[in-house]
């Protein structure tokens, strides 16, 4: 089954807390990630913070300010 293994891989990599309770929406989002995307997150050691899991709106500001 893909979803537990995706979440477990992210837990094992230290990117999310093992005891975090995911909402259904959060789970679906994580389940939608491909193998390549999960590998990329692990590769760059991107922490999936509480902030992300606790909000459904756009990124909090201030933005980093480096623009295109």
């Amino acid at each position: 089954m893909k979803s537990p293994s995706t979440i477990q891989r992210l837990v094992d990599a230290g990117l999310i807390r093992a005891d975090h309770k995911f909402s259904e929406q959060d789970q679906q989002l994580l389940e939608s990630l491909s193998e390549d995307e999960v590998n990329a997150l692990i590769s760059v050691k991107t922490k999936l913070g509480e902030d992300f899991f606790n909000r459904n709106t756009e990124l909090a500001y201030p933005p980093v300010g480096i623009v295109f």
Binding site: S32, L33, S34, T46, E58, Y61, P62, V64, G65, F68
Partner: protein, 235 residues
């Protein structure tokens, strides 16, 4: 099958990875010696933004031979050729900001750009030339996805003692980027994207978030340390 729009799916993925970038941003904009490090921030921003148009041109060039046979290449090409003129000469805005701070172009342009910037931008040249120019849209989605808040940066300038005129690049982008973000989202939603394409956008955006944070983190790690109170966080 995911029923969300292409742009919504990408934006959700960027949010997944965004906390590190937010932490770097907060550390930057509440730095106790912001006025000291702000010129270096502008230099790094210039090093990134000077590559915006050339990156899009490289991606458009990669797409152009396929526009008649590949709807994805055609869609990317159309978006890029519309967007390139909108991004031209924005690097000059940062050079103008630096001149407000008495740092002339003649000092900025010869400086060797930080390796973190070369990694951030250079990764996109790799994706464009060796895999698929679609990856660049993940990069743009990150950089144009959180427009600078005009009111926030005006107040920050006033509190930090940095002239507002030295924030012209951020303030102009704060006014322009919401529309640019929406334009990109509309373009993404019209592209014929497969699951593999979505994965590429995700990988590129995750990498961009990580490397963009490094550009700021490297600067903060080498910034002068001090114990004074930080610039008060703005609401």
């Amino acid at each position: 099958m995911n029923s969300a729009s292409h742009s919504r799916r990408l934006r959700d993925k960027i949010r997944i990875a965004g906390s590190g970038l937010e932490a770097a941003a907060t550390a930057l904009w509440t730095h106790p010696r912001l006025s000291d490090i702000y010129p270096e921030f502008l230099f790094r921003n210039h090093a990134v933004i000077r590559a915006s148009v050339p990156l899009m041109q490289a991606a458009a060039t990669a797409c152009e031979p396929h526009v008649t046979s590949d709807p994805l290449a055609a869609g990317i090409f159309t978006y890029l050729t519309r967007h390139i003129p909108e991004e031209m000469h924005h690097d000059d805005w940062i050079l103008d900001d630096l001149e407000v701070l008495n740092i002339p172009r003649s000092e900025v342009l010869p400086r060797i750009p930080p390796p973190a910037v070369a990694a951030l931008v250079g990764a996109q040249y790799y994706w464009i030339r060796h895999y698929h120019p679609l990856a660049l849209l993940g990069f743009i989605a990150v950089l144009e996805g959180t427009p600078p808040d005009v009111d926030y940066f005006e107040r920050l300038a006033d509190r930090s003692g940095i002239p507002r005129e030295a924030f012209s690049n951020l303030l102009r982008h704060g006014r322009l980027d919401p529309r640019h973000r929406d334009d990109l989202d509309r373009a993404l939603d019209q592209l014929p994207l497969s699951e593999k394409h979505h994965a590429l956008l995700g990988v590129s955006s995750f990498q961009t978030v990580h490397l963009l944070a490094r550009v700021v983190e490297d600067m903060l790690e080498s910034a002068p340390k001090c114990r004074s109170r930080s610039v008060e966080a703005l609401p």
